[in-house]
C-alpha cells in the first residue's frame, strides 16, 4: 500500500513543479513582450529633470548609467501638451501617415479581393504561373522592387506626391495571397449549386465570396494597417519633400534634447496600432494562421 501512496505524492509534486515551470515560462514571455512597451509609456510621462536624471547618459551628455524606474516620480502630461499645442508639424506627419495607410488599404481591398477570389476559385492552368510570380514578388524585399517602382514613378512624374507611396503599396501581393487562402476554404459545391441556379460569376463573388470570405478581407486590413502605419522604406525613398513625410520618419529626427517630445510622439504613434491590434486580434491571428495552411 505504501509504495503506491509514495508514488502518488511524488507524481503530484512533479506535476506541481511542471506547473510552476510553465507559469514561469509564460511570465518570462509576457515580460519580454511588455517591458519595452511599458518603459516607453512610463517614460513619456516623466518630467524633464527626471528624464535627464534617468536617461541623461544615453540621450544627453551626462556620465554614468541609465536608471530605470518602475513608476515616474512626478507623472506629467507636459510633453503631450507641447506636442499637441506647439508642434504643428506633428499633425502634418500624423495625417500623412493616416492618408497613406488608408489609401493603400483601400487599393488593396478593391484590386486585391477579386484577384484573390479568382486565384482561389478559377479553374485554369494559366493562373498557376501568375500566382507563382505573385508569391515571388511577395517575398522580395522593398529594396529590390524599389528600382522598378522608381522608374515607373519617375516616368509618371509621381515622385514626391502621396501617390508614390500609395500606388506601389496598393498593388502589394501579400494580401492577395492571404485572402486567396481564406477563399479556398469556401466549398466548391456551394458555387456549383449557385451556377446551376443561373448565378453569374460576379453574383457568386459578391453574394457568396465576399460574405463568406469577410474574415479574410478584415484580416488583411488589420495586417496591412500594422504594416503600413509602420512603413519606413517607401516614404524614405520616394518622398524628398519633408512635408509629405510620415510619423515613422519624423520621430527619429526629433532633436536629442527634446527626448520628451519624441517619447510623447512615439506613444501617440503607438496608440492607433495597439487599438487596431486589440480590436482585430482575432482577425490578425486567423489571417496569419490561414496563410500557413495548405491551399
Amino acid at each position: 500500500m505504501r509504495p503506491v501512496a509514495a508514488k502518488n505524492v511524488e507524481r503530484r509534486i512533479k506535476m506541481k513543479r511542471i506547473k510552476v515551470i510553465k507559469f514561469l515560462a509564460a511570465a518570462v514571455v509576457i515580460f519580454i513582450v511588455a517591458a519595452p512597451v511599458y518603459m516607453l509609456v512610463c517614460s513619456s510621462v516623466m518630467a524633464e529633470d527626471e528624464l535627464a536624471l534617468c536617461y541623461g547618459s544615453v540621450i544627453g551628455d551626462k556620465e554614468g548609467l541609465v536608471k530605470v524606474s518602475l513608476l515616474p516620480a512626478y507623472p506629467t502630461i507636459h510633453w503631450f501638451k507641447t506636442l499637441f499645442l506647439d508642434t504643428p508639424e506633428f499633425f502634418v506627419m500624423f495625417w500623412n501617415s493616416c492618408l497613406y495607410t488608408a489609401g493603400i488599404l483601400t487599393g488593396q481591398v478593391l484590386a486585391g479581393t477579386p484577384a484573390a477570389w479568382a486565384f482561389a476559385k478559377w479553374k485554369s492552368k494559366k493562373k498557376k504561373v501568375l500566382f507563382g510570380i505573385y508569391i515571388v514578388l511577395m517575398v522580395m524585399p522593398f529594396q529590390v522592387l524599389m528600382v522598378s517602382e522608381y522608374l515607373v514613378l519617375h516616368k509618371l512624374s509621381l515622385l514626391d506626391t502621396p501617390w508614390a507611396v500609395i500606388l506601389p503599396g496598393a498593388f502589394a501581393t501579400l494580401p492577395i495571397f492571404i485572402m486567396a487562402r481564406f477563399f479556398q476554404t469556401i466549398p466548391d459545391s456551394l458555387l456549383e449549386a449557385a451556377r446551376i441556379d443561373g448565378a453569374s460569376e460576379l453574383t457568386i463573388f459578391l453574394k457568396i465570396g465576399i460574405p463568406l470570405g469577410k474574415a479574410g478581407i478584415l484580416s488583411i486590413i488589420v495586417i496591412g494597417f500594422i504594416e503600413y502605419w509602420n512603413a519606413i522604406e517607401a516614404p524614405l525613398t520616394f518622398l524628398t519633400n519633408k512635408a509629405l513625410w510620415t510619423l515613422s520618419l519624423y520621430i527619429p529626427k526629433i532633436n536629442q534634447q527634446q527626448a520628451g517630445n519624441a517619447l510623447a510622439a512615439s506613444v501617440v504613434m503607438l496608440k492607433p496600432a495597439v487599438l487596431v491590434f486589440l480590436a482585430g486580434r482575432d482577425y490578425l491571428e486567423e489571417g496569419i494562421a490561414q496563410s500557413g495552411l495548405k491551399g
Binding site: 479568382a118 485554369s124 529594396q143 522598378s148 509602420n230
Partner: protein, 291 residues
C-alpha cells in the same frame, strides 16, 4: 482554309465567360503588378547591361562592378548570415512555444500577447531600443552587475545579436500562430491510435507530429524570410545609413546606391537578387506543393 477557320472558332468557343472569368477578376490587380513590377523589370534588365543613364551597351560590366564591390560582398555575406542564424532560431523557439500553448490549459492569451510586438511601430520603439542597448543602457547595467565590461551594442559586432534579438522579439508571435495552426491540423485520432498501440510521448512526437509538420515548413520559412527583410527598419532607424560593419545588409547598400544615383550597380544588383531570391522562393513553393 476551312481547317484554319474551324481552329479559330474553336479557340473562340473555348474563350467563354464560363472559363475565363477569372482573368477579368485578376485584371485590376494584374495591371498594377505588371505596371509596377513586371514591365519595368524588363527595363531594369536592359539598364543593367548599359552605361548608367546612357544608351551604350557594356555587357556584364555592371555585374562585374557589383560582384567585385567589397561592400556588396560584405552586405551579401551579412544578409546570408542573418537569415541563416535568425530563421532557425525563430522557427524553433516559436515551435516550442506553440507546443507549450497547446499543452497547457488557459494559455491562449499568451498567443495574443505574443503578437503585440508585431503591432508596435518600429519608430516608436527606436528610442527605447537605444536606452536598452546603449553603452550606458539597461543591458550594459546588467552586464556590469555580472562583472563583465559594458558593451556598446550598436557600434560593435554585438549589433548583429541585437538585430537577431529584435527580429525574434517582433516575429515570434507570428510564427507561433503559424505553427499553432499547423499543429491544429493534425488529426487527433492519430495520437489516440498511437496511444492504444502503446506509443509514448517521444514516439508520438517523432512519428506523428514531426512528419505532419513537414509540409508546413516551406511556407513558414517563406513567411519568416519575408519578415526578416523588414528588420532593415530597425537597423536603419537605430544606426542610420552606415551602421556597424556586422549589420551592413543588402538593404543598406541598395539604399546608398539609390542616394548616390548609381543606376548601373542598382539595376545589376536588383537583377542578381531577383534571380537568387526568386529561385529560392520557387524552390520552397515547389516543396510545399509536392508534400
Amino acid at each position: 482554309m476551312l481547317r484554319k477557320q474551324r481552329k479559330r472558332s474553336s479557340i473562340m468557343r473555348n474563350f467563354t465567360w464560363r472559363n475565363s472569368w477569372g482573368l477579368f477578376f485578376i485584371l485590376p490587380s494584374l495591371m498594377g503588378v505588371a505596371g509596377f513590377h513586371i514591365i519595368p523589370f524588363i527595363s531594369v534588365v536592359q539598364h543593367s547591361f548599359m552605361v548608367p543613364y546612357g544608351k551604350e551597351i557594356v555587357g556584364f560590366k555592371n555585374y562585374g562592378l557589383v560582384i567585385q564591390n567589397e561592400s556588396f560582398q560584405r552586405a551579401a555575406a551579412n544578409t546570408g548570415k542573418f537569415l541563416i542564424s535568425c530563421i532557425p532560431i525563430l522557427m524553433l523557439f516559436s515551435l516550442w512555444l506553440a507546443f507549450f500553448v497547446r499543452s497547457v490549459k488557459r494559455m491562449n492569451f499568451l498567443k495574443s500577447a505574443a503578437l503585440l510586438p508585431l503591432a508596435v511601430p518600429v519608430a516608436a520603439m527606436a528610442l527605447i531600443w537605444r536606452l536598452l542597448f546603449d553603452e550606458n543602457g539597461v543591458l550594459g547595467n546588467v552586464l556590469l552587475g555580472m562583472g563583465k565590461p559594458q558593451t556598446d551594442f550598436f557600434h560593435t559586432s554585438a549589433a548583429f545579436g541585437v538585430l537577431v534579438f529584435t527580429y525574434v522579439w517582433r516575429n515570434f508571435g507570428y510564427d507561433m500562430v503559424l505553427w499553432g495552426s499547423a499543429l491544429g491540423s493534425i488529426d487527433e485520432q492519430l495520437y489516440e491510435a498511437a496511444g492504444i498501440d502503446g506509443a509514448d510521448r517521444r514516439q508520438k512526437f517523432f512519428y506523428i507530429t514531426l512528419p505532419n509538420l513537414m509540409p508546413f515548413v516551406a511556407v513558414i520559412t517563406i513567411l519568416s524570410v519575408l519578415n526578416a527583410f523588414k528588420v532593415f527598419r530597425e537597423a536603419y532607424l537605430i544606426s542610420g545609413d552606415y551602421p556597424h560593419d556586422s549589420i551592413y545588409m543588402l538593404q543598406h547598400i541598395f539604399n546608398n546606391w539609390f542616394t548616390n544615383l548609381e543606376m548601373g550597380k542598382m539595376c545589376a544588383g536588383a537583377v542578381i537578387l531577383t534571380g537568387v531570391i526568386g529561385a529560392c522562393a520557387l524552390l520552397l513553393q515547389k516543396m510545399w506543393k509536392e508534400e
